[in-house]
Symmetry: C2
Subunit: 343 residues, 2 copies
């Protein structure tokens, strides 16, 4: 199935995935393109964002965003063009940031979209550096992490959408930054292009030792966005009064994949006490929406000054969304993963 102006292709949740989602769980459907009623807009998806949190919404479990129902279109942030407008404030051709999900077309009453500057150089940055992932990295680091000059900041998934922003902002604030990434190519990018002080390959057999060596003065801020074995290696290196903003990949916290047989909850609570740690979870959309203008202004300025690099991994064609999403969950993307749906 390719793009059409009569048919709306859309991916829906057919059944709840066990582990990695497959094309049996997320199915491609076709439907007629809907027509806007009075007060409505017809939106056409140009770009859609693929992010790890989407996996959590496919489970029928309490989480920070509501679970999808069976049959729902998979939700996603999108950049859309207004195709038809029956709404006084919008005209055909306007560009908007929306949350219309994995499909070609959607209707909106205008309350859930935000106009984008048509002169914006990288339209898809609205889903990355200047959107939810960049905002997440910036606020978690500055509001909870609060790195001071000379402190050591560690961030995993360092070449990714959130991690790359965390590390570059921490450098701009004067911290020493150690990234963690999967494989030599990503690590080289992190140190050479993003200018982190070091980057450790989590696939290396002596990963924990290398991390310890790179963090010779311990860790003052650990931006938690992956969990699992990385956190296990970080925990003993944390300094007194360290801060841990937690925005991690929830699918790794299902209690099924710990390498430890004993209960380490008492160890973690004891470490929080002894080292006087601050460990704090946050969800960008719910905790910081008032701070978005401040973030946007600061990040746009850094971008204009060439102080921030941002890499995208753009997949062409809505039909490749499931495959791209599976790659994201196993770390195959290199940079912010975006699906280009239409030009």
């Amino acid at each position: 199935m390719t793009q059409s102006s009569q048919i709306n292709r859309r991916f829906v949740l057919a059944k709840r995935p066990q582990g990695m989602p497959t094309s049996q769980d997320i199915k491609l459907e076709e439907a007629p393109v809907p027509q806007p009623a009075a007060g409505q807009l017809l939106l056409r998806t140009l770009y859609l964002s693929l992010d790890p949190y989407m996996r959590g919404r496919m489970d029928d479990a309490e989480s920070y965003s509501a679970p999808l129902a069976i049959g729902d279109v998979i939700g996603a942030g999108t950049v859309c063009r207004v195709e038809k407008s029956e709404h006084a404030d919008y005209k055909a051709g306007d560009l908007v940031l929306a949350y219309t999900g994995w499909q070609d077309y959607a209707l909106s009453d205008g309350s859930d979209v935000q106009k984008l500057d048509p002169n914006m150089q990288h339209l898809s940055y609205a889903l990355g550096l200047l959107g939810m992932p960049g905002f997440t990295g910036y606020m978690g680091l500055t509001d909870i992490g609060q790195p001071k000059v000379g402190e050591t900041v560690v961030v995993a998934a360092a070449s990714g959408a959130v991690g790359s922003v965390v590390g570059q902002v921490a450098k701009l604030l004067g911290a020493k930054v150690v990234g963690i990434a999967g494989g030599a190519d990503k690590c080289r990018y992190v140190t050479e292009t993003l200018k982190f002080d070091a980057c450790i390959d989590h696939k290396a057999p002596d990963f924990a030792e290398q991390l310890k060596k790179a963090c010779s003065k311990g860790i003052d801020v650990y931006f938690e966005n992956v969990g699992g074995a990385v956190f296990d290696a970080v925990l003993p290196l944390l300094n007194t009064k360290a801060r841990i903003p937690v925005c991690g990949v929830i699918s790794q916290y299902n209690g099924m994949n710990s390498a430890f047989e004993q209960d380490r909850l008492p160890l973690l609570m004891g470490t929080i006490l002894k080292k006087r740690l601050r460990v704090q979870g946050f969800i960008i959309s719910q905790d910081y929406s008032d701070s978005y203008p401040q973030f946007f202004k600061q990040m746009s300025q850094w971008l204009a000054e060439g102080k921030i690099q941002f890499r995208e991994d753009i997949v062409d064609g809505l039909e490749h969304s499931v495959e791209a999403f599976r790659g994201l969950l196993s770390g195959k993307n290199f940079g912010k993963l975006i699906v280009k749906v239409a030009s």
Copy 2:
């Protein structure tokens, strides 16, 4: 051995305890009363404070206060009278707050003591309500817990020195307060005298269920000062954006006494993320020393207005310190445990 003006009785760490300390671990010694040199004071202990953190210092392990060496006098906050002074700023008869430990006499150069108001009504309150435990409860609750009007605050060891302050201050700030204590007498005291909204007996077989019922709107602030089974019951009841100040009994966090066979560290981190919790350890002496005057003024005012109750459990005689300390670690004291050493 009884009190004497020639002999200094002192308890020293003879060997490191395994579990509950015994009189083989903490031994009573005699030594001559030391004589002050120029610039020194001779202090005589009137009251000494017994607190749970002392157990941690008996282990040879990294903790928030340095471990005692074998042969050291057991450290403790004390209220002392100046017996002899060779120091210009002090005269015999002055009353001071000190940290001279489990002994009758000690020398000081004046740098580690603080003069007390001789008109103070309850001298021993300098070790309790107006001292380290009261300050701990007040700062942990107000600075990290930040209870809002109508929120639910839970505190364990609710009849104790820290817990009783946490709960009463939370009530004064407009929160609903649920205490946890051991046994019917303590629970009655907590609701009838301290005026908490409810108090649950942690010895009850249906403790977790009772706690859930008492916290019908979930828990917004859990002041962690015990750990173990209480935390296990609290964890599933925490509301989104709950705050957990951690000043807990470190001896319960040795990883040896979990009732769970699987590793719950991923569960805890997942809960921190999903519920956007703030979990923060603190050590009153290191994190908040600048705030003591503000605390002292506020608490003294509440005390004068009859808005705060404080119960002491006073043991008469230095020689009973080990027995009293063992009772503290097993919850036998009822109120702030103090040893009266001299009149």
